[in-house]
């Protein structure tokens, strides 16, 4: 299992984000990808053939961590999870099945 380092690290108070509707704890400012992997989600998107993709570079190059952010009222956007900071109440949509 992955884990957040706590020794010598002070984080802000935890907030809730939603992964496919499931509430998980995360910290403002950490990357969405960190929040996802900490919650056990390693497959973040599908390729153009619908096959599951998994992050490789963690620096905005591979686009394997492209996730959908549900912005409400039917609107959504796709962001690179590795470059996007967590904010409270974020609603993330990732492929089901893993």
């Amino acid at each position: 299992m992955s884990k957040r380092i706590t020794v010598g690290v002070a984080r802000p108070a935890a907030v809730t984000v939603f992964i496919n509707g499931r509430a998980v704890e995360a910290y403002v400012g950490e990357s969405v990808l960190t929040a996802l992997i900490a919650a056990g989600v390693l497959t973040t998107s599908r390729d153009s053939f619908g096959r599951l993709r998994t992050p490789f570079c963690n620096m905005g190059v591979c686009f394997d961590c492209l996730v959908e952010v549900d912005e409400g009222e039917g609107a959504s956007s796709r962001v690179r999870a590795c470059l996007t900071p967590v904010r409270a109440g974020l609603r993330l949509v990732v492929p089901e099945g893993h």
Binding site: S2, G8, N58, M59
Partner: protein, 491 residues
């Protein structure tokens, strides 16, 4: 402008710096000292580049990156990171370097950057541009490399350094670059298990180069750090295996183990001599490719430096590319490491001052003298490191089997490319292969497969990878959502 006060509207600046890593930061400091207006653009939320990927502002981390090897880049970061006179534009992607339209009345500027920022897309005009986009990991494609849990070693390091997060439990690091020792050490310190660190080099080969008197005398600091890390790994019972390469990753839904095989003295992988390590994450580490897409898109002259970064930009003594007032610094000129990148940034900044008429030739020469001297010493070391860190010739080709996915985005297997090459003798370039097979056609725009595709074509046709060429780079050099275009200007 206050830090990160990001406008979504068109703007003009004196000098735009693309990349807030060592080169960009060092250049910004020199330009500010001379009163030049600087705008720094970076995709990350904070300055520092990959080498100093900072923790989020909302975190406080005691003893962040204590190792001495970060001292000089840290000093450069601290010199400018809180500078209110620099216009910082973070979480912003430069989609293209465009020439201003002659048909539009513009506010001047030699170059127009097409930028996707948090508030949408806009144009930024600049009298001069410094392109310092850094580099990314050269991926090795091998059976199982698309399984969840296989990442670049640098990706794993990014989680530890910046996110203060250990993205797994038990790690295998495999490759040819000494960076993996640093990553292993940082993982151990963070409390993770390291199952093995695997080097393609044979032990004697590494030792012989490191003991070269030239290296030993001038670079004892780096060598000392390396031997300290090796000692710590030994104390933690982490096997460091030499002369082996990763041949496959296996697991039901994610990585469960890594298989490595011996490389025989003539550089051929012997699949009968294998070892298996249980692990849930694999970090691969075979050197770096310069992020050359913006330079290529802008039309700058490039050349091929293979294990010093793949396609890198040509430049003159002042680090000006073949395009007037488009300067290049850092790994895009050759992957020489962060300390060298600092000096390149300083030289490029002096070159920009000279080009903008702020200083004369004489003053420029004097201002750049110290940086040039340091750079030449650092590049001597970089050349030794590049040679040391080079995987055996053809490792990339040996690592793939017919059904290994070559292009992750489009799920194109090696066999598909080989069949296309066999069926059509006219495929001589990466672009031709792309048209017929869709390799490089996906979201990463060929960044992850381009190098391997070029090697496959070159090998099949009896050419060198530089004769096959990189994929054509077009703006937008990264995919941009339509919504971002609708919200802002689309160039």
């Amino acid at each position: 402008m206050a830090a990160n006060d990001q406008q979504g509207s068109d703007a003009t600046c004196e000098v735009a710096i693309i990349g807030a890593g060592p080169s960009g930061l060092a250049a910004a400091a020199v330009l500010r000292e001379h009163g030049v207006g600087v705008t720094v653009i970076d995709e990350q939320p904070r300055a520092g580049g990959q080498i100093l990927r900072q923790p989020p502002k909302s975190f406080s981390v005691a003893h962040w990156l204590p190792a001495k090897l970060y001292d000089r880049v840290k000093a450069a970061l601290h010199a400018v990171s809180e500078q209110p006179h620099i216009d910082w534009r973070f979480q912003s992607t430069v989609l293209g370097i465009m020439r201003p339209s002659p048909y539009r009345r513009s506010g001047g500027g030699a170059h127009e950057l097409w930028i996707q920022g948090p508030a949408g897309c806009y144009l930024l005009r600049a009298n001069a541009v410094l392109l310092a986009p850094g580099c990314y990991e050269r991926p090795l494609a091998f059976p199982g490399w698309t399984l969840p849990g296989v990442m670049g070693a640098g990706a794993i390091q990014g989680f530890v350094k910046s996110q203060q997060f250990v993205p797994g439990n038990r790690f295998v690091l495999a490759g040819s670059h000494p960076l993996q020792l640093v990553v292993a050490d940082q993982l151990l310190t963070a409390g993770a298990h390291v199952a093995a660190v695997v080097f393609t080099q044979r032990r004697q080969q590494a030792w012989r180069m490191l003991r070269h008197p030239f290296v030993a005398l001038r670079h004892h600091r780096q060598l000392l750090e390396t031997s300290r890390i090796l000692r710590r790994l030994r104390r933690a019972d982490v096997p460091v295996v030499f002369g082996h390469t990763i041949v496959r990753a296996d697991g039901a839904n994610a990585v469960e183990n890594a298989t490595i095989a011996e490389i025989n003295p003539s550089g051929v992988t012997d699949r009968h001599k294998t070892q298996v390590f249980e692990c849930d994450r694999i970090g691969v580490c075979h050197g770096f490719l310069a992020s050359s897409e913006l330079a290529r898109q802008a039309g700058a002259d490039m050349h091929w430096k293979d294990h010093a970064g793949g396609w890198v930009a040509r430049h003159d003594d002042w680090l000006e590319s073949s395009i007037r007032n488009l300067f290049v610094a850092g790994e895009i000129t050759s992957v020489d490491g962060a300390d060298a990148a600092l000096e390149k940034g300083r030289i490029a900044a002096v070159g920009i001052l000279r080009s903008l008429g702020r200083i004369d030739d004489n003053r420029a020469r004097n201002l750049a003298a110290v940086a040039r001297k340091r750079l030449s010493r650092l590049q001597d070391f970089a050349a030794v490191l590049q040679q040391l860190a080079q995987p055996p010739a053809n490792l990339a080709l040996q690592a793939m089997s017919d059904d290994t996915i070559l292009c992750r985005c489009e799920s194109i297997k090696l066999g598909e490319l080989q069949r296309a090459l066999a069926d059509n003798e006219h495929i001589l370039s990466a672009d031709a292969a792309k048209l017929l097979t869709r390799v490089g056609m996906g979201l990463c725009q060929g960044r992850l497969c381009g190098d391997n595709v070029a090697r496959v074509i070159a090998e099949t046709r009896g050419l060198q990878p530089n004769e096959v060429g990189p994929f054509q780079a077009q703006a937008p050099v990264k995919p941009v959502p339509l919504a971002a275009l609708v919200r802002g200007r689309c160039g």
